[in-house]
């Protein structure tokens, strides 16, 4: 026997209810400090050569923050683009684009993370 509130809490029609909403907010909150740090770093790297940039990325704190930023960015944009597509498109195009956004965001996110890790592990 469950209460009405117990049934509703956290459960939508597909049993994942507020997850999308919540994940979008969590990634947004994570991105606030990460983006302030990123923009400040980019400005301080203006005009820097390859060596300087690679040394910056190879610093463990930088690589960790960059991987976190990439993860949050691609998760957040995947959720955001999903809503945009669902709002404006219907039928087959919607499905194709949703699948495309999912695959593309995962693949590009992986590329960015591997690039950071490759530099971090020194090659």
């Amino acid at each position: 026997m469950r209460t009405a509130l117990g049934k509703v809490r956290g459960l939508g029609s597909a049993k994942s209810g507020v997850h999308h909403w919540w994940a979008q907010r969590l990634t947004a909150i994570a991105l606030l400090p990460l983006m302030v740090w990123f923009v400040a770093s980019m400005v301080s790297l203006v005009g820097a050569d390859h060596r300087t940039v690679v040394e910056w990325i190879a610093n463990p704190l930088t690589s960790a923050l960059l991987v976190a930023l990439v993860l949050a960015v691609f998760y957040h944009l995947r959720l955001g683009l999903q809503v945009v597509i669902e709002d404006y498109l219907h039928g087959g195009t919607r499905m194709v684009l949703l699948v495309f956004v999912n695959f593309a965001s995962i693949l590009l996110g992986l590329m960015a993370i591997i690039a950071v890790l490759k530099i971090a592990f020194g090659s």
Partner: protein, 131 residues
């Protein structure tokens, strides 16, 4: 089935133009633009991992007027989306819905986004010794 005739979600035609609706759709537009920005971020990181020759080439593209215009656009989109995002998070907590507060926070977002974008670019040009 009848469901095919249902109206599409944002019923744009029933709204009178006002700041709030323009800011709302601009939040989406900047979000989509920033998704393209994420592509550029990936490209830049991959270039750095590839090697000095390719990296300098990519840096060269970014330094062109078109490249800088893109970067300027991304920076403004980022500040707008971040500031308006904070506004959204505040609403999510059930705050800031009073008409006056709503209007003022909207104006603040626009002003701050412009100021921060210009400040960051002034800072960058100073670092380059061009200002």
């Amino acid at each position: 089935m009848a469901r095919r005739d249902r109206p599409l979600s944002p019923h744009l035609q029933v709204y009178r133009f006002q700041l709030h609706m323009a800011m709302s759709i601009f939040h989406r537009a900047t979000g989509v633009a920033l998704s393209v920005g994420a592509l550029f971020l990936t490209w830049w990181l991959v270039a750095a991992a590839t090697g000095p020759v390719y990296f300098e080439q990519v840096q060269g593209y970014i330094a062109t007027p078109v490249g800088r215009l893109f970067l300027f656009g991304f920076s403004f989109a980022l500040f707008y989306h971040m500031l308006n995002g904070i506004r959204h998070l505040n609403w999510d907590m059930g705050r800031g819905y009073a008409k006056e507060k709503f209007k003022r926070s909207g104006q603040m977002v626009i002003i701050l986004a412009v100021v921060l974008t210009l400040a960051v670019w002034a800072w960058a040009y100073r670092a380059l010794g061009l200002m």
